[in-house]
Symmetry: C2
Subunit: 155 residues, 2 copies
């Protein structure tokens, strides 16, 4: 099997993030692929669009991929370091490899996943950083809501 | 505030699990409450009913509760020890307390949650054990699918 083109996979997730931004939502996108690069499902955060707090980008892509007997040799690509919720998804379902656009604006559970044997590829993509930076500056409260960061506790 | 009646909260989750069983689905139920016992959302596993692998009982209850600015002082009650996916949900959103029907038929991430400051109440409820034992005996492959347990790797 030829080496996986992680930049090409990230482009799919980034397109999803941009679609989310254009819809007025949280600009995080993700997609699930086979190790051979076949697309299984793609999606973006749908908190705003569907009033659904459970649809982070990764869960949205996972859902779009439908029911599968296992996730051995699948690759989750996401524009942003996965939060604990989405990291838990990866660990529970045994997704083998996570490709991450950036972990500069937010760092979730990817080190924990690496400790548990998940291959992590962090791409430090400037366009992903720009998308999130713009969003967080524009809508900080929406961002804090999406990651369950308590405004009161932040003081 | 009077002490929370964890058995009464579990009864709501168990009703959800029984509804799931009656629908031909995976009999796991959950509900999200305030610390004062107000119901915010309830749900059950919907893998079979909606062909949706992302709707575990806890995510289903979380979704039903709708968008909230934070989850401080909320209680997640579930008939079964939360898997990594659902444990990640609890940690990310800062849910304070998890009430668990049983951890005999499956043990997920509740010790990890306790290490990270989440209050855990394990009730060892025989009806929850019976519901899951019956299901796993009847439909082992469906159960393994729901927790991403790879039949090939199991040998």
């Amino acid at each position: 099997m030829k080496p996986i083109d992680t930049a090409a996979l990230l482009a799919v997730a980034r397109d999803e993030a941009r679609t989310g931004e254009a819809e007025g939502g949280i600009p995080i996108g993700a997609a699930l692929f086979t190790a051979g690069g076949e697309l299984l499902g793609r999606g973006h955060n749908r908190r705003v669009q569907d009033d659904d707090p459970s649809m982070h980008a990764e869960t949205s892509a996972f859902r779009a991929a439908g029911r599968r007997p296992h996730y051995r040799d699948t690759v989750m690509v996401t524009t942003l370091s996965p939060c604990w919720y989405c990291s838990g998804l990866v660990r529970q379902f045994g997704i083998s490899h996570v490709v991450i656009g950036e972990a500069t604006t937010f760092s979730g559970g990817h080190d924990w996943l690496a400790e548990h044997g998940v291959r992590i590829t962090l791409l430090d993509d400037p366009e992903c950083v720009e998308l999130m930076s713009r969003f967080i500056e524009r809508s900080p409260e929406l961002w804090f809501e999406d990651i369950g960061s308590d405004a009161t506790a932040r003081g």
